[in-house]
Each structure stands twice: as structure tokens, then as C-alpha cells.
């Protein structure tokens, strides 16, 4: 690791996965680092109210679903008794352990951790209002903005009621409601809907687009949609929420759309999960050269440098996709750029996305939907999990693995997987894309038997066979090349 010659001072605002990764690397490179966040320890949304607590709960949900499924294999359990306080305790424990660990790592690296909020005085000066009281004015060589994002609120829908929650509220597990309406069929809504459905809540989902997980390839979504049809009380597509009113004993919701069956329904609770927006309203930002785009994201170059040369921005606040692993990679790039490493650049070929529903959906690189929109010539090699020995042993054969391949070079451009464990499996495809692997590289790599990872190898094999070729319309093929 190249050390920086003189001791640079650097501030990182926001201690989420992007911010703490940046701060830790900067400290390891010999910089003097100040990390600023409101929470008691580093972790941010991801660890406190996002990826981590939701996965702890989804693990429990999977166990519940699995034990119910076991009846078909001749093993019956009585229906589960849920001790909500203990479950919440488990989740909080997970969060505490991980954020506490980060606090330790931060101390060991001699990172100055300030609990509070920061405001710009100028491009290099911050005034930190400390949570414990008092303010501190500090000057830095460079400042990294890692302020993240927050759930979108819809006026008239996100009404002020304890029964209407966002993802943070839902992760608190206030109770197990009899009925829950999830507004927004994106990944957050579906993951939390899965948790509540497993706990016994009748979950309904409303989505204004014609399918769940808009933007994801339809063939990946299909097995999930089918399962959700059974585990959820209702999935309302092409449907908008017209109004939300609190009344005694529930929330009355009016729906609007061509497929609406019941115009009004009453739910115990409502989860609004229609998206997240960047936290780019930072005090005093106008005193710097930082610029934002129309959607509120801070504009950055490949090194994640903003329009102000002293200031960098990473993670959700610097643009989509809003994913923790993208943020931490960006954090490292920004710090390397500050340290003067010429090779530092954010140029990924593939950023994996994982939806931790049951079944999981994961993809990376080019999607079929994108290729179609761009009229790019691709070939898709699919492998249905019904032909995977491992999937059959799990009694989960609805899964599918597909590789998106450039017909000209046979390079892997993208991959999509749906099925249990898809999130773990996708990593191999990311590496393959980054290494510019061609289909035969994957085909010729021995994969362990019997595992689900074989489905990736066998997809590559199917590329060379005839049966699984998917032919694109002639017009789409000509424009590629």
C-alpha cells in the first residue's frame, strides 16, 4: 500500500458502508481522518436500519417458511409461537454487534469519530454541531460526502400516524399486524412484506407498474411473483393509492386503477416503500462548488470528485444504484484519488443487485431489458433449476440461471439468477464479467457437485448447444455488432 507523504487531513460526513470504508482506508494510508455521523457507531442505514436488520429478520422468515414446507417431506412442526420481544432482541443484537465492531475498528485506526451534524463554512471548513452539545469548527484538506439517502415520503399517503411506517419503522417490529399494505413493489417492500407474511400478517402489495420489481428482467421476477401470489394476501398491479385516511382501528386506503377489485380497504398498518432519495441537502453546501443534478444527486467524476476539487461524494448521495457495496467501492476510489493514486477510478463492469426475497433474485452487468432498450445484440443462455440436482434436493426447482453473452466475442456481459441463494451465486458472475470471461471460460471451469453454482457452468454449456439459444428479432441484431 502506498502511503501518502505528508499527513493529509480528511473528513468523511456519514459513516455508512461508503463512509466508513473510505475513512478506514484513508487512515490506513496515513491520513488524519475525522468521521462524522449522528449514530453512536459507524454503520449508517445499512447496518442500523437497512441491509443488516432486514437480513436477520429474513433469516427467521426463511426458517418459518421452511419448517412449514417440511410437512411435505414428512416432518411436521406445530405452528410457530413468536416471541416478538426476543426476535427484536436478536435483530438488535446483530446490529449492536456489527456496529460496535466498526466502532472498535475505527478506534484502532485512530479515526476521530464525531457524533453530530456537519455544515460547510467553505470548501474545506466544517462546523460540526455535536450531539453531546457544543460545536467545533474544523479545517480539512479534503472532505468526502457520504450522507446516503432516506425513504421517499408521498404527501397524502405518508400521513402522520403510527400505523403508517417507512422501512425504518417496519424494521422496528412494533407488533405483528393482522394486515399490512405495502405500497411499492420494489425490493424493500417485498423483503419486508416477506418478513411480515412469515410472521403471520396478511400482506397486500400495491404497485403502479404492471409487474413487481420494475426494471428487473421479467423472467427473473416470475418465480417470485408466483410464490408471492400464494404467501401474500393480494398483489395489486397497475394500481395507485388514491388516498390514505386514519380511522379508528385502522388505515382506510382508496385504490385507483383498471384492475381494482375493492375500491377501499382497511389495513392495520401501511408500509410506504416507494423509493429512496439522496440526502444532498447539506447545510452550507452552497458555499462550495458542489453541484447537483435534477434528481438531487451530487455530480461527481470517475474519481468521485465533485465540481469542487476539495470535495468528493460517494454512495447513495452520488447517484444510483443506491447499494452499500457500490458505496464502499466508491469510498475506496475517492480516498485513493485523494492519496494521488493515478489508477483510482470508479469503472465497474458489473455491480451486483440482490433482492433477498424468497426466492432470491440477483443480477449483475447488462440485463436483457437494458439490451432490448439499447437494441444491443445479445444471446441469452438459460438453465432451469428443474435440471439441477441440488435444486431438486432442496425441493426448490422454480429457480433459473441465465447468462447474457455478446454473440460476437462470446464475452459474458450480464447474468441473472432467481432461486434460493442467488445472492451468493451472483458473485461468480461479477468476477467473470470483470475478468472479461468468455462463455467457454465458465464452461471449462469445474464447479462443485452437487451445488447450485453448477447452474452457472451449465448455462454456459447451453450457450454452445442449440436448444437454449434465444434468438433476437432480426432488427435488433443488425444494430449491434
Amino acid at each position: 500500500m502506498k502511503k501518502v507523504p505528508e499527513k493529509k487531513t480528511i473528513a468523511v460526513i456519514g459513516a455508512g458502508p461508503g463512509g466508513y470504508a473510505a475513512a478506514f482506508l484513508a487512515a490506513d494510508l496515513g491520513m488524519q481522518v475525522t468521521l462524522i455521523d449522528r449514530d453512536p457507531n459507524p454503520g449508517g442505514v445499512c447496518l442500523y436500519v437497512g441491509c443488516i436488520p432486514s437480513k436477520a429478520l429474513l433469516h427467521v422468515a426463511a426458517l418459518i417458511n421452511e419448517s412449514a414446507h417440511a410437512k411435505e417431506w414428512g416432518v411436521s412442526f406445530p405452528s410457530p409461537k413468536i416471541d416478538l420481544e426476543k426476535l427484536r432482541g436478536f435483530k438488535n443484537n446483530v446490529v449492536g454487534k456489527l456496529t460496535g465492531g466498526l466502532g472498535q475498528l475505527s478506534k484502532q485506526r485512530k479515526v476521530t469519530y464525531l457524533r453530530g451534524t456537519a455544515a460547510f463554512m467553505d470548501s474545506r471548513t466544517l462546523k460540526v454541531q455535536k450531539l453531546e452539545g457544543g460545536a467545533e469548527q474544523l479545517r480539512f484538506d479534503n472532505i468526502i460526502l457520504a450522507t446516503g439517502s432516506r425513504p421517499v415520503r408521498i404527501p397524502g399517503v405518508s400521513i402522520d400516524s403510527p400505523r403508517v411506517m417507512d422501512s425504518t419503522g417496519a424494521l422496528d417490529l412494533p407488533d405483528i399486524p393482522k394486515s399490512l399494505l405495502v405500497i411499492g413493489g420494489g425490493y424493500i417492500g417485498l423483503e419486508l412484506g416477506t418478513v411480515y407474511a412469515a410472521l403471520g400478517t396478511k400482506v397486500s402489495v400495491v404497485e403502479m407498474m404492471p409487474g413487481l420489481l420494475p426494471g428487473a428482467d421479467r423472467d427473473l421476477v416470475r418465480p417470485l411473483a408466483q410464490r408471492v401470489q400464494k404467501s401474500f394476501a393480494a398483489v395489486m398491479l397497475n394500481t395507485k393509492v388514491a388516498s390514505v385516511k386514519e380511522e379508528k382501528g385502522g388505515i382506510r386506503v382508496r385504490f385507483e386503477g383498471p384492475e381494482v377489485k375493492e375500491l377501499e380497504q382497511v389495513f392495520d398498518r401501511v408500509l410506504v416503500s416507494v423509493g429512496r432519495r439522496p440526502n444532498s441537502e447539506i447545510d452550507g453546501l452552497e458555499k462550495t462548488g458542489v453541484t447537483k443534478n435534477a434528481r438531487g444527486f451530487i455530480e461527481v467524476d470517475l474519481q468521485r470528485r465533485t465540481n469542487d476539487p476539495a470535495i468528493y461524494a460517494i454512495g447513495d448521495v452520488a447517484g444510483e444504484p443506491m447499494l452499500a457495496h457500490k458505496a464502499s467501492h466508491e469510498g475506496r476510489v475517492a480516498v485513493e484519488a485523494i492519496a494521488g493514486h493515478k489508477g483510482a477510478s470508479f469503472e465497474p463492469r458489473a455491480i451486483p443487485a440482490v433482492v433477498f426475497t424468497d426466492p432470491e433474485i440477483a443480477w449483475c452487468g447488462l440485463t436483457e431489458t437494458q439490451a432490448e432498450a439499447e437494441k444491443r445484440a445479445i444471446k441469452v443462455a438459460r438453465f432451469p433449476w428443474a435440471a439441477s440436482g441440488r435444486a431438486v434436493t432442496l425441493d426448490r426447482t422454480e429457480g433459473m440461471t441465465k447468462l447474457i453473452i455478446d454473440p460476437e466475442t462470446e464475452r459474458l456481459l450480464g447474468a441473472g439468477i432467481v432461486g434460493p441463494g442467488a445472492g451468493e451465486l451472483i458473485a461468480e458472475c461479477v468476477l467473470a464479467i470483470e475478468m472479461s470471461a468468455v462463455a467457454s471460460d465458465i464452461k471449462l471451469s469445474i464447479h462443485p457437485h452437487p451445488t447450485l453454482s453448477e447452474t452457472i457452468m451449465e448455462s454456459a454449456e447451453s450457450y454452445f448447444g442449440q436448444a437454449t439459444h434465444i434468438y433476437r428479432p432480426a432488427s435488433a441484431r443488425g444494430a449491434g455488432g
Binding site: 421479467r218 463492469r349 442449440q466 444494430a479
Partner: protein
């Protein structure tokens, strides 16, 4: 069935050569590995063997022509399975045989399209098919009716833009690039390099972008596919037609949900939706050129390119699957640094029309000349310094004369060069930097633990530099014998590529012709070269011992002019002076060789 024989790979960095002699003619029955032609490359004259046996049907090349690797040489009719090929099979055929080059596919009749493929029937030029356009050689200027096609700049399958150069043509006036009057995808190339073409002749066919390229004509398959696969590909468009829209309606185009207009009444239309929007790089594809995302290179290789300031899209790939390796980036860095220098642009200087002022004659540069020109062009990038000195060879000359007969008995000639070889070998052991190379990309100096020394030989074709191996392990007599033998082979074109490779230093002796000092040019990637002039008797002033003034006498001494050019990036002046002095003293006192060398 007939196959196209193309010029195979000839070795590292050899991409072309001059056809010296054709060894077969149409009608000849040839065996596998039988030599087809004699080719003179930059490095050596080689015989190109046939990859298969059969009867020569047609020869596409002629003596004196410059051939490039991959170019079609001749068509070969295989022994038995000749003419009766089922028509259906023929349609799928061209890919494997024409796989190598565009020239090859052009030579073997235009690629026929499978009948099932409606959009792009491949018929002759001017068939009037919508979307398919013939590109012919346009008027080139007054009184110019034809020219020699120097180079085809596009290949079948390429997307070309209007005004993009498609061929380079040499007329009596100039070499010009001919721009395409059409945009589209090249479906067929009707000409090949070396051919004479007239104004109005068909050059190539393009199809407009919406159309499909005939699969059979695709030249750039990385690996030849089995026939089965080829047939499968040929059948694709038919199936595509039956399935015009894949899962239509199901997959909304990305971005629809991003559009604020589609969103419900939200106060915050700028907000992102809950779904991670994976805007990945491979999607970007500018109309012209490669985008970084299209380049096959591992993240670490891409990082190296960024670190040393190389645009990865400019790097030529040598790795499997078209991947760019670490070495590719480093090589590109080396080469681009050279070509980035002002001198390197010289060949592009437009030439005046010399014929305006009198009669001229154009002679093609032979391969040796081209190689020398290129090598010297590279060398221009090296910061040269030349250090001169004189060596007193009076004593050495006596020894040389005394032992010359012995050398002759062994078949050699005890020349100054033979002695110089031995002396330089000794000096290189003491001064290893003079046998080094510079790896600028890695910022490293490469020291070589072997002493192979190049010797410039003047031949009727031009300068050739054979390399004498392990000079340090041979005595002067052995070297004199080897030198005579190598020089002879150089003049008779009998040197192989291996005879010209691996030198760490070069000696050029012009003394046989005359002259004193000169400035030899370094034979890159070496870093130094020794030039030797003609030795002359000169008066040398010998100061009387003990005298402090100009007291003494002149003595006739035989002085040998030595000129050492060196690369100042790696060698400093003082080192060069020491090195040259060491050489001069070794010439003066050959004993030094056995003492230190």
C-alpha cells in the same frame, strides 16, 4: 471442395513480407507441408509450407508483392470430395474456410446467404435490393484512371460511417485513402490488397444498419465452429422471424418508472424508486470506436493502464478471448511513447508531386529497407549521445597479421570486427548497463545475463544485423570463423529469424570503406552501439619522461577511430567515456582482455 490457403503466422511481430518466389502454379498437385512460396520478411527469408494437400486451383498473389499475414495465397482443390457439394451445405459453408480474413472471403465468391433469410439476400452488385449498396472506386482526380490497392481498411462485418476511409490506394501521383460514400455494415469486399483497380470498379457492398449481416459472411469468429454450429447460426433468422417480439409487453423499458410523468402525485418527483437501478457500463456504446466497457481486460489491467496514462481502448489485445494482458498495456505504452514523439510522424508528411519538376521513378521499398526505416524511426525517440575516441592498435595490428594465416586456415578472417567483438564482450561484463534495455512502462532496467552481439552487415539489399551468440564464451579465432560464415549467409539471404534476434549490443564497422568518426544509431531496444572507422597511421607525440614541456618526439602509431552512441536515459556521459576508454585500452593492450574481460 476448395479451400483458401492464407498466409500463416510467421512469428512474433512479423505481420508481412515480400513474395520473393512462387514455388507452385495452378494445376500443381501439392502435398501437405510442401513449400508454396518464398517470403522475405523483416527478419529473414522463409519458405511457407502448405497446410494441406490438394491441387492448386488458383494463385492469388504474384512475385514481388507484399503479403500480410492472413492474406489469401491460393485456392486448393482437395483430392476427392470435389464438385458435388449439396447446395444447402454450400450455403452454410463459407464461414469456416473464409474465417481468417476478409480478403479470403472475398476471394472465395461472395458469401451466399441462406434462403431463409429474408432481409439480406446476398446477390451481386447492383441487384437493386433495398438497403444494400455497392461502393465503387470514385474519380480520383484528373487523368487518374486506376491505382494499386495498398490496403483494405475495413473488413466484412465492420460498421462504417459515411466518409470513413475504406481503402488505401496508390496512384501514380499519391497514396490516397478512399472514403466511403455510404454508411452501413460491410457485407462483402470485392477487392484485395495488391490488386490494380480502375475507377468505377466495385470495392465493397454495404447494407444499411437495420439489416442483418449474412451469418455465413461473418469473418471474425474467434474460433472456427463446427459445421453443425454454423448451420444452427444460419437458421437463426428464420426462427427469429417466427418469434418477432420476445415476451412483448412484459418488460417495460428501463426508465419508464423513472419518468416523473408516470409517477403518482408525489411531492418529490426527483426521488428514486426502491429498486436498485443497475446502470452498468457495458451498456454504453458510442457509434464510433470502442468504449472502455467493450474492452476485454481485467480490472487490474485496466488500473495499470490508468496508472500509466494509457487509453485502454487503444491497446491491442493478445490474450485468449481477445483479452488485454498486462504485457499488452506495457508494450502499448512503449510503442505509443515512441510514436508520440515528433519524429515519428514524419512518414505522414505529404510529398510534393516531384514529377512536376522532371522525370521520376518510383521503386518499392524492400522488406529490409522497410525494417531499417521503421527501426530507425523508433531509434529517433532515443536521446542519443555519441562519444568518440581513438584506440592505438599498433601492437594489435602486429598480432593480427601474425595470426591471420591461422584464422584463414580455419576458414575465418582475423578482422578488426572479430577482435572488437571479443573486446566488447569483455567490456559488457565490466559495464553491464551497456547491454541493458529500458522498460519505461514498468520503470525498470532490464539487465541481460547473456552476451549476444549484433554485427552490421552490408548486403546488396541493405543493412542486416546478424547476432553472434555467447561472444564471451568464444575465442577470437572462433569468432572470426563464425563472423565470416554469418556474413556470407547474410549476403545469400540464408539467415533465419533466430539469427537476427537477441542482440544486446551492436557493432558497426565502416572501416572497410573508409572514414573516421560517425554517429551510429542505436538498434533499439538496445541502448548502445559501437561504430568503428578506418584505422590510420598518425603521428603521436611522445613526451619525454621527466620533461614538463613540449619536449619529446612524434611516433607513427596506427589509430582506430571508435564512436560509441548511447542512450542517455540509462547511460551517463562519464560511464560512456569510461566504457569507451576501456575498449580503447583493450585494443591497445589485448592482454587486458584476459585480465579483466
Amino acid at each position: 471442395m476448395s479451400t483458401e490457403v492464407t498466409l500463416p503466422e510467421l512469428g512474433e511481430n512479423v505481420s508481412s513480407g515480400d513474395l520473393v518466389k512462387l514455388l507452385v502454379k495452378p494445376g500443381d498437385r501439392i502435398e501437405k507441408d510442401q513449400p508454396l512460396l518464398e517470403l522475405e520478411t523483416d527478419k529473414a527469408t522463409v519458405e511457407v509450407p502448405s497446410p494441406s494437400s490438394g491441387t492448386v486451383k488458383e494463385v492469388h498473389v504474384r512475385e514481388g508483392q507484399k503479403l500480410t499475414v492472413g492474406q489469401a495465397i491460393l485456392s486448393l482443390e482437395a483430392g476427392d470430395n470435389g464438385a458435388q457439394r449439396p447446395a444447402a451445405k454450400r450455403q452454410a459453408e463459407p464461414e469456416p474456410s473464409a474465417g481468417k480474413t476478409a480478403a479470403a472471403s472475398a476471394a472465395s465468391a461472395p458469401a451466399p446467404a441462406p434462403g431463409a433469410m429474408a432481409p439480406a439476400p446476398s446477390e451481386g452488385p447492383g441487384s437493386g435490393q433495398a438497403g444494400r449498396k455497392a461502393v465503387a472506386l470514385p474519380e480520383l482526380g484528373e487523368n487518374i484512371a486506376s491505382g494499386d490497392l495498398v490496403k483494405v481498411l475495413v473488413k466484412v462485418g465492420d460498421r462504417i460511417e459515411k466518409d470513413q476511409p475504406i481503402i488505401e490506394i496508390e496512384t501514380d501521383k499519391a497514396t490516397v485513402e478512399v472514403p466511403s460514400p455510404e454508411a452501413g455494415t460491410v457485407t462483402e469486399i470485392a477487392v484485395k490488397a495488391g490488386q490494380k483497380i480502375n475507377v468505377g470498379d466495385l470495392i465493397l457492398m454495404v447494407s444499411s444498419s437495420a439489416e442483418v449481416l449474412p451469418q455465413g459472411g461473418l469473418p471474425e469468429q474467434p474460433e472456427p465452429k463446427s459445421t453443425e454450429n454454423v448451420m444452427a447460426r444460419a437458421a437463426e433468422p428464420a426462427q427469429a422471424a417466427e418469434e418477432p417480439s420476445v415476451r412483448d409487453g412484459e418488460a417495460p423499458a428501463r426508465g419508464t418508472w423513472e419518468a416523473p410523468a408516470e409517477a403518482p402525485a408525489q411531492e418529490e418527483p426527483a426521488a428514486a424508486r426502491a429498486l436498485p437501478n443497475i446502470a452498468v457500463m457495458p451498456a454504453r456504446r458510442p457509434a464510433s470506436g470502442r468504449s472502455p466497457a467493450d474492452v476485454a481486460a481485467a480490472p487490474s489491467v485496466r488500473q495499470l493502464a490508468r496508472e500509466i496514462g494509457i487509453d485502454i481502448t487503444d491497446v491491442e489485445a493478445t490474450g485468449r478471448g481477445g483479452r488485454i494482458t498486462f504485457d499488452d498495456v506495457k508494450r502499448h505504452a512503449r510503442e505509443s511513447r515512441i510514436s508520440a514523439l515528433p519524429g515519428a510522424a514524419a512518414p505522414a508528411l505529404p510529398l510534393p508531386d516531384f514529377a512536376k519538376w522532371g522525370e521520376i521513378e518510383r521503386q518499392p521499398m524492400n522488406a529490409v529497407r522497410r525494417a531499417t526505416a521503421r527501426q530507425m524511426q523508433y531509434a529517433w525517440a532515443i536521446p542519443h549521445v555519441t562519444q568518440n575516441d581513438k584506440a592505438d592498435t599498433t601492437a594489435l595490428e602486429k598480432l593480427r597479421q601474425r595470426f591471420s594465416e591461422r584464422a584463414e586456415r580455419m576458414g575465418g578472417k582475423l578482422t578488426t570486427t572479430a577482435v572488437a567483438l571479443k573486446i566488447v564482450a569483455g567490456a559488457l561484463k565490466v559495464f553491464p548497463r551497456f547491454a541493458a534495455s529500458l522498460d519505461l512502462a514498468a520503470e525498470e532496467v532490464i539487465l541481460k545475463k547473456y552476451v549476444h552481439i549484433g554485427v552490421a552487415v552490408d548486403t546488396e539489399r541493405g543493412l542486416i544485423v546478424p547476432v553472434i551468440r555467447d561472444v564471451d564464451k568464444k575465442n577470437i579465432l572462433e569468432l572470426s570463423v563464425e563472423l565470416a560464415e554469418v556474413a556470407e549467409r547474410a549476403r545469400n539471404r540464408k539467415l533465419g529469424p533466430q539469427d537476427l534476434e537477441g542482440g544486446v549490443f551492436t557493432i558497426t564497422n565502416l572501416g572497410g570503406i573508409g572514414g573516421t568518426f560517425f554517429s551510429p544509431i542505436i538498434n533499439a531496444p538496445q541502448v548502445a552501439i559501437l561504430g568503428i572507422g578506418r584505422s590510420q597511421w598518425e603521428p603521436v607525440f611522445r613526451r619525454e619522461s621527466g620533461s614538463d614541456g613540449a619536449k619529446g618526439h612524434f611516433e607513427p602509431r596506427l589509430l582506430l577511430p571508435l564512436s560509441l552512441s548511447y542512450d542517455h536515459r540509462i547511460i551517463d556521459g562519464a560511464d560512456a567515456a569510461r566504457f569507451l576508454r576501456w575498449l580503447a585500452e583493450a585494443f591497445e593492450q589485448p592482454f587486458l582482455l584476459s585480465l579483466e574481460g
